[in-house]
């Protein structure tokens, strides 16, 4: 599917006069053989003010119909519902803290996946790369010994680098060998986990520097450092995505890679960078998990990529690329968490959570499709 198949969903027909905006500036439909050339229009101050006002109205309308806002509504409803069911326990600080903690590590990976998906890529390998990163980091840390913060710093660097290596691999295979991202990262999903198992013989590494314990229990404003770390990653990720040229190129490539190429953007190099970001953040998430649980968790991340991709898609990141907000991913990631937590405290089988998430995901993507096909008639 090319970008312009997407664009051509429903071309507005000017001749029917349905597109009023398009009709306002034209001259009268006079003799076709004469191309009327009026003097170039000059932008007056009044015009500029009117344009700015119109822009505000349109911006508000776009915001109101955006997926993140809709999903924020869903999140509020879910929260209110479970609060009504369990007024004492569900909205308590301890429980909210739990939910934040549960989401934090996945959220770091979601930042990377957001970039990749906005560029119309895909990454299934993040859960395995997380395990690979934490295993390599744990091995290196126990290898160099030491219990202090510097050993942790080394671990962080190693975990990120280990993730970047898989990102390089994914990006290289996808851009140079032209293997589709779904298959490439499905392959590295297996391969990265396999290598991690080989390194540990399938057993978890429990040898973690003492400093990890103090980080895991340390708090700022009542919240764990793990949560704050995720906040920092999300904020930086969001700023880079929405304010910088790097972020803009990510959107352009996801929207129409050929247009990006013709405009002189090095598409392959950019995509490789994005897979490296996803990989590096997954490795970093591995280190966060290692600190939180003070052990590697080689068997515990088989569904991470599905959870993250679900959350990101719920947040309005288009599966076809070119559309998305970082805040959307944040909101999307909390929906599974809140559902899970709420259902557990409601004594509903946690299996229902999977059913509910699946259905919400399908519903969200359906709504997104509807909006795409309707955007021609504002």
């Amino acid at each position: 599917m090319t970008a312009f198949d997407k664009a051509a969903v429903a071309p507005a027909d000017e001749l029917t006069g349905s597109n009023t905006e398009a009709n306002t500036m034209t001259s009268t439909p006079n003799d076709v053989s004469k191309v009327g050339v009026s003097a170039p229009t000059v932008v007056s101050a009044a015009d500029a003010a009117r344009i700015a006002a119109e822009r505000k109205v349109r911006a508000r309308r776009r915001l109101l119909s955006s997926s993140p806002l809709l999903m924020f509504g869903v999140l509020i409803v879910l929260f209110a519902f479970f609060t009504a069911m369990h007024p004492d326990t569900f909205p308590s600080f301890a429980n909210v803290k739990n939910m934040l903690m549960d989401t934090a590590i996945l959220m770091v990976m979601a930042v990377g996946v957001t970039y990749v998906m906005i560029a119309a890529g895909f990454d299934l390998s993040i859960g395995s790369v997380l395990v690979f990163g934490q295993v390599v980091a744990a091995k290196v840390m126990s290898g160099i010994g030491g219990q202090g913060a510097w050993t942790i710093v080394v671990g962080v660097v190693v975990s990120v680098l280990a993730g970047v290596v898989w990102g390089l691999f994914n990006g290289w295979v996808i851009t140079k060998l032209r293997v589709p991202p779904l298959i490439t990262t499905l392959g590295s999903l297996g391969a990265a986990l396999g290598v991690a198992y080989l390194l540990t013989n399938g057993a978890d590494v429990r040898d973690v520097p003492d400093a990890a314990y103090s980080i895991a229990t340390g708090k700022l404003l009542g919240l764990s450092w793990i949560v704050w770390t995720a906040v920092v990653v999300v904020v930086i990720g969001g700023l880079v995505l929405h304010l910088t040229r790097f972020g803009r190129h990510t959107f352009v490539i996801g929207s129409n890679a050929e247009a990006a190429r013709r405009s002189g953007i090095n598409v392959d190099r950019h995509l490789i960078k994005l897979y490296c970001i996803a990989g590096g953040l997954s490795g970093f998430a591995g280190m966060m998990s290692l600190i939180r649980y003070t052990t590697t968790t080689v068997g515990g991340h088989g569904t991470d990529s599905l959870v993250v991709i679900t959350g990101v898609a719920l947040g309005g990141i288009s599966l076809f690329g070119g559309i998305g907000l970082m805040i959307g991913s944040v909101i999307g990631m909390f929906i599974p968490t809140v559902l899970n937590n709420g259902l557990v405290s409601t004594n509903v089988s946690a299996f229902w959570q999977q059913v509910a998430i699946g259905l919400i995901l399908i519903g969200a993507v359906y709504l997104d499709q509807l909006k795409r096909s309707r955007r021609d008639q504002p």
């Binding site: 664009a7 306002t24 191309v35 170039p40 803009r248 352009v252 504002p378």
Partner: protein
């Protein structure tokens, strides 16, 4: 007056197929030149050689009177030569202003610019100015291009090229997919572009359209320029005759 771009005896072969057999071509600043010809006459190939997409096998290209070898489309772009592709090459999810600045984003002043932060407001303002000065009906600089009509999309693609074209714009069938009214809008835009001093090379199949907007018409047949007319001195019949070889066109 020296033509802005002049091609002399351009030859291009694809394998054993001679697509261009010594084509001459020229265009001056502020002039709209239509390039017409039957399918396979070599119009697209000629434009590709003149816009750096492919390298000619022979002949000479002069830009502002100076011999020049265009190594790539990006090279041409840097020289002030832009191309409006038939498929427009727009990013449908992005707005007109964002599309206008793909690959040429403006940075903010000072330290924020050094961090790679782009100046969205300034880009939107300049794009809006350019769009208005060309008299296009694209109003919403933020709406995704996919939500615009075909004519508006065409306008976005043309404006984007014109914003950056200091010398010359190639347009490959810019009205091919448009209705009558939209076509007229696009032709108006093309005329305005030329009036701003930019040279325009228009590839088209539509004879009456060509005669409306072009100052000059160059006709290609079987890889050669067979005729060159001022559009005031020619009618559709003569053009068709030159294209098909029924008439022997004599350069005007």
């Amino acid at each position: 007056m020296t033509p802005l771009l002049e091609a002399r005896g351009i030859v291009k072969n694809y394998g054993h197929v001679e697509v261009l057999r010594g084509v001459d071509f020229s265009v001056s600043a502020g002039e709209v030149v239509a390039l017409i010809g039957d399918n396979g006459a070599g119009k697209s190939t000629l434009v590709k050689t003149l816009s750096g997409v492919v390298q000619p096998d022979g002949g000479q290209i002069l830009f502002r009177g100076v011999p020049m070898v265009f190594t790539s489309p990006i090279h041409c772009r840097d020289m002030g030569i832009e191309t409006v592709f038939q498929d427009l090459a727009l990013a449908p999810e992005l707005g007109p202003a964002e599309n206008a600045y793909i690959g040429r984003e403006l940075f903010k002043q000072g330290w924020r610019g050094k961090l790679g932060i782009i100046d969205k407001a300034e880009m939107r303002r300049r794009a809006q100015e350019a769009f208005i000065s060309l008299g296009t009906d694209v109003k919403d600089m933020d709406a995704p291009v996919a939500a615009l009509s075909g004519g508006q999309r065409q306008s976005v693609a043309i404006c984007r090229s014109v914003m950056w074209a200091k010398g010359l714009v190639f347009m490959d069938e810019p009205t091919a997919a448009l209705g009558v009214r939209q076509t007229r809008k696009v032709l108006e835009v093309i005329r305005r572009v030329a009036d701003q001093g930019v040279a325009v090379v228009l590839i088209s199949h539509n004879m009456s359209e060509v005669l409306q907007v072009a100052d000059r018409v160059e006709v290609l047949r079987l890889g050669r320029r067979v005729a060159e007319y001022r559009s005031k001195e020619v009618d559709v019949e003569m053009l068709v005759g030159a294209m098909t070889g029924a008439l022997d066109g004599v350069g005007a």
